[in-house]
């Protein structure tokens, strides 16, 4: 980076911070669309300038810096003042029914099965879905890197998403059926 690049980068970082300050001001007192637009424009401009100055590394650098500054600015007083588990808290007295041994066993078994569904089985669904996608997108000739990396990234994101969705399903039988059905479909698509 040249001296001019550094100057531009510092200026655009200040611009990005000013943009975030404007967004904060609009959040405090809403109904000011001009300031809202200006805030977003300044944040975007800082990313664009850093890209021009230092390409993708520049975007990562300014994003990290802005994230850190804002996160600290918002939470620093809280980090100093929040007592975590030491804080006094209202406690209700409730008579708790202890589960029987059989109820406990069912609960543990269900937990283990849920863990298997949301972990390895969701993973198998996602990875074979990625494989199926790659079968469709891989070029017959030419460089396969784009298709391979896209399928790879999508399969990992799918894994995270499927885990979440399976855990969100409250009925364990339905959860199992969804997972089993999805696994069967992706295995057929990927291997047949």
């Amino acid at each position: 980076m040249t001296l001019t690049d550094y100057a531009l980068a510092i200026l655009s970082t200040c611009g990005g911070l000013a943009g975030l300050a404007l967004l904060f001001a609009v959040w405090r007192k809403p109904g000011r669309p001009l300031l809202l637009g200006l805030g977003w424009a300044l944040v975007t401009a800082s990313l664009v300038v850093w890209f021009l100055v230092n390409l993708d590394r520049g975007v990562a650098q300014v994003s990290s810096l802005l994230m850190l500054l804002v996160a600290f600015a918002i939470t620093w007083p809280g980090l100093k003042g929040v007592n975590g588990l030491q804080a006094p808290v209202r406690v209700r007295k409730v008579a708790l029914a202890r589960p029987s041994a059989s109820q406990l066993a069912v609960r543990i078994g269900s937990g283990v099965w849920t863990f298997l569904l949301a972990g390895p089985i969701a993973g198998a669904i996602a990875l074979y879905a990625g494989g199926a996608l790659l079968r469709v997108t891989a070029p017959d000739t030419g460089n396969p890197a784009n298709a391979a990396v896209t399928a790879y990234i999508i399969s990992l994101f799918l894994w995270a998403l499927i885990s979440t969705l399976l855990l969100m399903e409250k009925h364990s039988l339905r959860r199992t059926l969804y997972a089993g059905g999805a696994l069967a479909v992706v295995l057929c698509a990927a291997l047949l």
Binding site: G58, Q61, Q86, L127, A145, L156, M168, A190
Partner: protein, 496 residues
Amino acid sequence: MAKSLWPKSSSERVDSALSAHTVMGLVISALLFVICVSGTIAVFEDELEWWEQAGTPAVHEVSPAVMQATADEIMRRDPETTHLYLYPPRDNWPRFVAGGDNGVFVLDADGTFLRELKAPWNDFLIELHYYLTLPHQPGMILVAIFGVMLVSMAISGLLAHPRIFRDAFRFRRHGQARLAQADLHNRLSVWTAPFLVAVAGTGAMIGLFGVVALVFAQTNYEGDTKKLAEAIFGGEVVEPDTTRTPLNGIDTALISLERDIPDANPFIVIVHEPGTRSQHIEIYGDETDRLIYGETYTYSTDGELLATGHNADGPMGQQVAMSMYRLHFGDFGGALMKSIYFLLGILLCIIVATGLNIYFLKRREKGRHAPRLEAMWSGWIWGSTAMFPITLIASMLGLAGAGLIALYWLGSVAFSVGATIWMTAASAGRAFRLVLGLALLAAPLLQLIRGDVDGSNAYALTASALMLVTGAAFAAKAVRARHAPQGDAVAPSRVG
């Protein structure tokens, strides 16, 4: 209040998402916290490695002739090695190390072998963060799965909090402890979300490559697991030929690179199949405006450029894949960027810790107070953190390898169990923060007493100074908190 851009969620969906978020958090938080803390510290793995041998000098430049002589000496010491690795100094890293398959050495600018590179605590840190100290293959897969689960937590967290962007600046410091903890957890999660997803996603991509290669081999590459790597990074440049021949050409390759690409900025030189007819030299050049690990230039021993990796200007997929490492470890802007990543890592650890704090505070409010579990969690958080400087001291006193691993896990469990049996969450937090502070103070003092410090080594001196300051801060805060009037850990009488 401004309208939310986030789509409206039904309360049932929010409940389901929150339940998924809680279940996942309960299952993964303890080990995820260890992975996050070790990863936060591992941002400085190079600096800490040097700190462990702080008596070795800074090196600012190494000539091609010295590189060749160094390679010759490594071959003499390790004739069966299949690769030679030479790491010449660069702009923001003034160190020269080199080695083969069976050992790496620290050298000075003249190529004198000063000592074998030994950094047992750094090795332990890597074992913990990369593999959770398990055998490497399953360990790396397990850690990578934690990365996927962290992304999953981010998804369920977003679904569970439909107002999370609308409340992006909200922080209630007073009032109910749970709300303050929830605000801390949610605000940090929102504002560090790109970092969180980038670190977790890149970690998952790095660690699951073998598994994905296995699956894609079945679905696309007729069972050949090497094909995925070849599809992304390209194949071998030179066909293997094991006929013995003298090692040469490293100096010629470096001179040719200087002539061919003057701003290549080489930082790694790897000699493949050294001492055979197929030996060739792969040089990594630092692209200082890119996230890619480096551009690769492959030379023959007579200085002919055989291939360029095209990591910087090849297909986008290849560029993305080559950017995973630097994006994961924050190695894209020298010490300043690493420091920013370190602080963001600490925020991630706070997110994990406060997540379970919220769970315990909710339990209290619902009348299902679990003081033992709370103490156990507090003991785990602060105990497992305190074990990092404690193991560092132990390694300076001679413990290494499995001993350090055993000490870390047994110590962390002992802290947690001790807290469960004898302490409250609050007292465990105070006591173990004091232990953490004292251990952080002791490590650099021990190094000073041993006299293993080079005054010219700014990296090691800075690391020592930071340990002293952080240690003093933790110890002072813990001592102050001990003497301050305490609020009740629980106040059951307030509400009947």
